[in-house]
Symmetry: C2
Subunit: 400 residues, 2 copies
């Protein structure tokens, strides 16, 4: 392993998270400590910053900026969704070489890990010594080979808060509007929707139904589930993954003929409303799920920092072609250390909720899921209360 | 004014807020202190609890419940939307008389103040001595005769956080999805949408456009505003009131022929996307705006408590037929005291954003609005940062 020295470039890619900039600060602060790193540069808008030779100096950022980044949402370097073309490879190596860049850290989901892998391969092919390390990030929590993804814990905390609080609102409205559907991000994987269950304190707390893409439901199942829940409790709060409704149920397209984002929630709302003659209300917080910082999980923020820091330690130690992973330590107290996984394997995998995290009926999560996810969102939410049931004996007669 | 003694009934009505139960606790704790009040009862689901003789004993609730209610969303007594019928009046007086109720406090918006007024009149007509006082509450902030409404401050804090954080997410995505529309509650009044401006720290911060129902816009204006903003900044974040688009622009109806809630936001998203060929993303947090407690404003919670407490003080002092109001004291430091307004006047009025709070173009708020609203959301949000502009000189040549 060469103890090469040179510049380090870091980029952010794909959908941002609440804690994405914690990883950036982890990279910057570790890079400043490593003697191998002569300067740390940020590539603006992901890999396109490299292609365009468009970098910002991160080594000179004031401490106040680094501190502020730890609670600033959005990708501070700008993000991008760009799939590398074969003709880009030589250009990338040329630009990195021109700046004497020897270390490349790339933060994103599996598409971004593919980009990092292509950069790693391109450097190898051109015979340019470069150490490429991926940094995981996604609110979807769908990267394989890691216990969980930085970004998931904070988004999960937001979702738990949102479903619980909006669910309490629904509960209090009585029969005038007894059904609420809250649409949660996740086309293919239900991790974030499952997190809605994390705020339940007791039996009967919202959400009453959780539908995830791993067990797509048809409209008849939903209608029956809702009918039964409303009969039992008087109301029903549903956490619904964007992708949880089987194709049979969703024919909605937008003006361009594209399937509408959120078509599933609106479709189900209409079906339940028509078939059960109940008023249904919808919440679609969409991008708030990955940006709302008032519910940032400190555990998540610290782990995002850790994986950024570790990427630099690895790259400067001569490791390349891997993504940093989080490994949960055995034992009662929650603790994660870091590991690595090959970039190409991460790029080509997608991790779904395992069967044992979904109940038999496919409309809720299991205790095993709650044990997995609970430590990730930080301290428990501040508990809610209901009035004690202390009925006053009727005195007026009639009409009761 | 007789110093009558008897039971006190409190009810909650209309859409809940984050702090609605603070008013309930204010009522309960003050009622316990007043020698005139023999018991304090809660009417379940607003006025229907009275009609059905369905009360819960609030005097015996444990302290832990009262403490927990101060951060519990939803109406703890259950809410209702029910318009009193003339045949209900005698029944209401009969039930209240059967329980020796002499004090009636009712918490809600202008429809609820109308209910409280009808109860006040019915008691007078039946010759039953009853003291009725209204307690204001609405996230819409549209009640007249009060500086602002309890509930508004916390909803406004949520909206400011949401638009800022989701706006930073949009800013970081670059040209791939440069336009975000965030739909805010408010069919007739733009107070809550205007609050989106409260989180701006510097010029260029989101939101870039604010549209309120007081100045309905047509699609051509919006398209021009968005085009100009994207040309100038590269992206555009819009805070849109549910009711801000003039009728010409919204023909969307649901399967039942009803105009779709949120039709305006979806319609505008489609128009902007088609006419400017830009990707538009939508956030519709809906009921989160009135329930999400992680952004509760302490000022708002304390004022909600105060108006509940004051309602009891007034009723037990022999006042009836009024709503408690908040009166802002002159001077530099923000401070509110309470006053009263006649229930029938409140019931028949609706308060809109005054002209001086909206800019000339009708696409933003003024500094006067910010001065009005700033103290209501509690301490300033934790400030965000952007990276310092420290560009690295290009070295690679070509393609820049």
């Amino acid at each position: 392993m060469a103890k090469l020295s040179g510049r380090l470039v870091v980029g952010q890619s794909g959908g941002p998270t609440q804690v994405i900039n914690n990883s950036l600060v982890g990279v910057i602060e570790q890079a400043r400590k490593q003697v191998e790193v002569t300067d740390v540069y940020g590539s603006l808008h992901g890999i396109t910053g490299v292609l365009k030779d468009d970098f910002v100096d991160l080594g000179q950022q004031p401490d106040s900026v680094l501190a502020g980044l730890r609670h600033t949402p959005g990708a501070a370097l700008g993000s991008v969704r760009y799939k590398l073309q074969p003709e880009d490879y030589a250009r990338i190596v040329h630009v990195l070489r021109s700046h004497q860049v020897r270390f490349f850290c790339y933060n994103g989901g599996n598409d971004s890990m593919d980009t990092a892998y292509q950069v790693h391969l391109a450097a190898q092919k051109e015979g340019y010594e470069l150490y490429c390390v991926g940094i995981p990030k996604t609110v979807d929590n769908d990267l394989a080979y890691t216990d969980h993804c930085p970004g998931y814990g904070s988004a999960a905390r937001f979702v738990a808060h949102a479903v619980r609080d909006s669910g309490m609102d629904t509960e209090s409205m009585g029969p005038s509007s007894p059904v609420k559907i809250i649409e949660i991000m996740g086309r293919n994987a239900g991790w974030l929707t499952a997190a809605a269950a994390l705020a339940r304190q007791e039996d009967g707390d919202p959400p009453h139904l959780i539908y995830v893409p791993e067990r797509p439901v048809d409209e008849r199942t939903v209608v029956n589930d809702v009918r039964r829940t409303v009969e039992q409790r008087g109301h029903c709060v549903i956490a619904l993954s964007e992708g949880a409704v089987s194709d049979a149920g969703t024919g909605e397209v937008d003006a361009f003929g594209h399937r509408m984002k959120g078509g599933a929630a609106e479709y189900l709302a209409r079906v339940v409303s028509e078939q059960l003659d109940l008023k249904v209300r919808l919440d679609r917080p969409n991008y708030l799920q990955r940006s709302f910082t008032a519910t940032l999980s400190a555990v998540d923020a610290d782990e995002a920092y850790l994986v950024g820091q570790t990427a630099v330690t690895l790259a400067t130690a001569g490791v390349s072609g891997v993504m940093v992973t989080l490994q949960r330590e055995p034992g009662d107290a929650y603790r994660c250390t870091t590991g690595t996984a090959p970039l190409d394997q991460v790029a080509n995998a997608e991790r779904f909720l395992p069967d044992e995290y979904i109940n038999a009926q496919g409309n809720d999560v299991t205790e095993a899921f709650l044990e997995y996810a609970r430590p990730l969102i930080g301290p428990p939410l501040q508990g809610l209360v209901r009035l004690e049931h202390l009925p006053v004996p009727a005195r007026a007669g009639g009409q009761k």
